[in-house]
C-alpha cells in the first residue's frame, strides 16, 4: 500500500482545512441571509474527500451529492467561483444557475453535486465506461451517503460496474443518518460495504475520521480500478457535525448532544494534526498558519462573490440546449 510522503500528508491536511473553513464560513453566510436556498454542509467528513481526492487528477471523474462542496474543494475547486455560485452570481461555476446543490466543474473532473439522492452512482458508471472505452487509465469515483445506498439506482450502478469491470469506486460516506432518520431505522445492515458481495466486488470499511486510513484504502481501490480489475465499494464511517441542512437545521431532536460530542472528540482535523505533529511533519504553529492562510483565502472568495454581478435575466434561456 502506498505510504503518503510528508508533502502528501501536508497536502491532505490543507485540503481538509480548506473544506472546514469554507463550510464554516458558508454556514455563517447562510445564517446571515446571504446564501439563499438549501445548504448541506460537509463539516466532520473532511477526511473522506481529502483522502480519496489526493489520488486523483483533473482527468479522473467524480460524482457528488447534495453535500457536495467538500468534494469540489478537495478536487481543486476555487473559493471565489464557489462562493460566487452559492451567492447566485454570474461569475459562479454554474453562472448562478446551479447553486449549492448543483455546483460542478467539468475542467476539474467534477460531475456535479446533485439534488437527487442516489443519482451519482449511475453517472459515475457512465464516466468509468467512458474512460475505459477511450482506453485511458482514468477512474470515476462516486460519493454517496448511507441513505443513498437504499436507492435502486445505487444497486443498478454497482451491478453494472462489476459486470463490465469498470474503473469505478463507490465511496459510501456513512454518517449514520439520512436526513433525520438514523441508519438503524433505514436499513437492516450495519456495514453498507456488505452490499458489495451481492454484486461481485470487494467491500471495504474504513474509519472515515482517519485521513491516512482513507488515503490508504482508497489508494488500493483506485489502483485496482486503474489496472482494469474492476470496482470497489468503500464505506467510510463518519459523522456530520452540523445539521442535515444549514448549521443548526430545523431544530429537530433526532440525535443526542452526547453522540455529537463523542464524534467531535474524533474530529478528523484535530486527530490528523496531532498525528502530523507527532511525526514532525507539521508543527502546531505551521498548522495554525495553514488555517490562517485558508481563512484569508475564504474571505477573499467571499469578497469576490459579493462584488460579482448577478446574472442578466436574458441568460435565463441560455444553455438549455447545446
Amino acid at each position: 500500500m502506498e505510504q503518503p510522503s510528508d508533502d502528501l500528508l501536508r497536502d491532505i491536511h490543507r485540503r481538509m482545512v480548506r473544506i472546514r473553513v469554507f463550510e464554516t464560513e458558508a454556514g455563517r453566510m447562510a445564517e446571515a441571509g446571504k446564501i439563499p436556498g438549501a445548504l448541506h454542509l460537509y463539516v466532520g467528513q473532511e477526511a473522506v474527500a481529502a483522502g480519496v481526492m489526493a489520488h486523483l487528477s483533473d482527468d479522473d471523474w467524480i460524482t457528488s451529492t447534495h453535500r457536495g462542496h467538500g468534494h469540489l474543494i478537495a478536487k481543486g475547486g476555487e473559493f471565489d467561483r464557489m462562493f460566487a455560485e452559492l451567492f447566485g452570481r454570474a461569475t459562479g461555476y454554474c453562472r448562478g444557475k446551479g447553486g449549492s446543490m448543483h455546483i460542478s466543474n467539468m475542467a476539474l473532473g467534477m460531475l456535479g453535486a446533485n439534488g437527487i439522492v442516489g443519482a451519482g452512482p449511475p453517472i459515475a458508471v457512465g464516466a468509468a465506461f467512458s474512460t475505459k472505452f477511450r482506453n485511458t487509465d482514468r477512474v470515476a469515483v462516486s460519493f454517496f451517503g448511507d441513505g443513498a445506498s437504499n436507492e435502486g439506482s445505487f444497486h443498478e450502478a454497482a451491478n453494472m460496474a462489476a459486470l463490465y469491470k469498470l474503473p469505478a469506486i463507490f465511496v459510501c460516506e456513512n454518517n449514520g443518518y439520512g436526513e433525520y432518520t438514523a441508519q438503524a431505522n433505514h436499513q437492516a445492515i450495519v456495514d453498507v460495504a456488505d452490499r458489495a458481495a451481492g454484486y461481485g466486488m470487494p467491500g471495504v470499511v474504513v474509519d472515515g475520521m482517519d485521513a491516512v486510513a482513507v488515503f490508504e484504502t482508497a489508494g488500493a481501490a483506485i489502483e485496482r480500478a486503474r489496472k482494469g480489475e474492476g470496482p470497489t465499494l468503500l464505506e467510510a464511517k463518519t459523522y456530520r457535525f452540523f445539521d442535515h441542512v444549514g448549521v443548526r437545521g430545523m431544530g429537530l431532536s433526532y440525535r443526542t448532544d452526547a453522540e455529537l460530542e463523542e464524534w467531535r472528540k474524533r474530529d478528523p482535523i484535530h486527530m490528523f494534526e496531532a498525528r502530523l505533529a507527532e511525526l514532525g511533519v507539521l508543527g502546531k504553529d505551521q498548522a495554525a498558519a495553514v488555517h490562517e492562510q485558508v481563512l484569508a483565502d475564504v474571505k477573499a472568495g467571499i469578497e469576490f462573490a459579493e462584488a460579482s454581478p448577478f446574472p442578466a435575466p436574458e441568460t435565463l434561456l441560455e444553455d438549455v440546449y447545446a
Binding site: 446551479g98 448543483h102 439534488g115 437527487i116 439522492v117 436526513e179 435575466p313
Partner: protein, 327 residues
Amino acid sequence: MAERETTYVAAIAEGAKAILAEQENSFVAGEDVAGAGGVFGSYRGLLDEFGPRRVIDTPISEEGIVGLGVGAAATGLRPVIDIMFMDFMGECMDEIANQMAKMRYMFGGAATLPITVVTMSGAGMNMAAQHSQSLEVWICHLPGLKVVAPSTPYDAKGLLIAAARDDNPVFVVMNKLSLRNRGPVPETAYEIPIGKANIVREGADLTLVAYSRMVAEALAAADALAAEGVEAEVVDLRSLQPLDTATVVDSVRKTHRAIVVHEAVRFAGLGGEIAAQIQEFAFDDLDAPVGRVGAPFSPVPFSSVLEQAYLPDTGKIVAEARALLGG
C-alpha cells in the same frame, strides 16, 4: 363567531389526521414523515397520536415507497404516500405510470387502488432545477390517475380528505411557497369534491383560469385590472384530472376572453389542453385567442434574479391580459 384560521401546512396535517382517524386501514408512509413529522411539517404530531404502525418512516427508496403503496392498496389498505418533492417522481415513475395508473384497467376492473399521493411542487425558494418543478402534466396525462392542486389552506385539507376517501389513486399536489399562507379552515373533516372548479372572483370581461399558487397571482392581477376598468373572473380549477371543463366554458361564454395561468412550463402545459377545450366548446363565443401564462422553456434556475424572471406572476398575467384586451 370568527372562522378559525390555520396555515396551509397545518391544514395538510389536519387532513392527514382526519384520514387516519376515520379509516382504520389507512397509513402514512414516506421519508421522514414519522419522527420528523415531514420535512415541511405536513405530518407533525401524527406519529405520537397514531403510532409507528400507521405512520411510517421509509428508507430513501421512492420506487419502493410507491410500490409499497400500490401493493398495499391493491390488497385492501388505504395508503397515504408522501413523495417529498414532486421532482422525485423521476425515481418512481414506473410504479406510478405503469402500475398504479393501469392495474385496475389491465385486470379488467378486478383491482381497486385507493391510494393517495401527497407531494410538493413549485419554485420561488432558490431550490434550483431539481427541487422546484411543477410536473403535474406528467400525471394528468396518465389515464387511471386523478390529480388535485389546492390553492388555499381550506382546499388543502378538503381535497386531501376527498382524495383519501376516493377509491382511485389521487395525487394531491401541494405548493411549498404556500405552506405558511393562512386562511379559514373548519375543524371538522370536510371534503371538497374532486372534479369541480371553484369560481373565486366573478367578472364579466375576462376569465383567468388558474390553480395552486397561481390562483393568488391571478386574483392580484384581477385587482390590478379592476383599477383599469376590466372585471376579470377567476376560476380556481382545484382539480386537474378530471378537469371541470363545464365551469371553464360557462365562464368564457360569459366573458368571451380567457387566459390560462400555471407555474409549469408553458409548452405542453395544462394551458394547451384547456385552450383546446375552450375553442372546442366555445369557439363562437371567443373574442380573442385564448392566452397562456406559464414558465419559459428552461429548467428552474437557482439565482434569485433568474428565478424571478422565470416565474409567472401578477405582472406577467396583467401584461398578457392587456395584450389580449388591446388586440
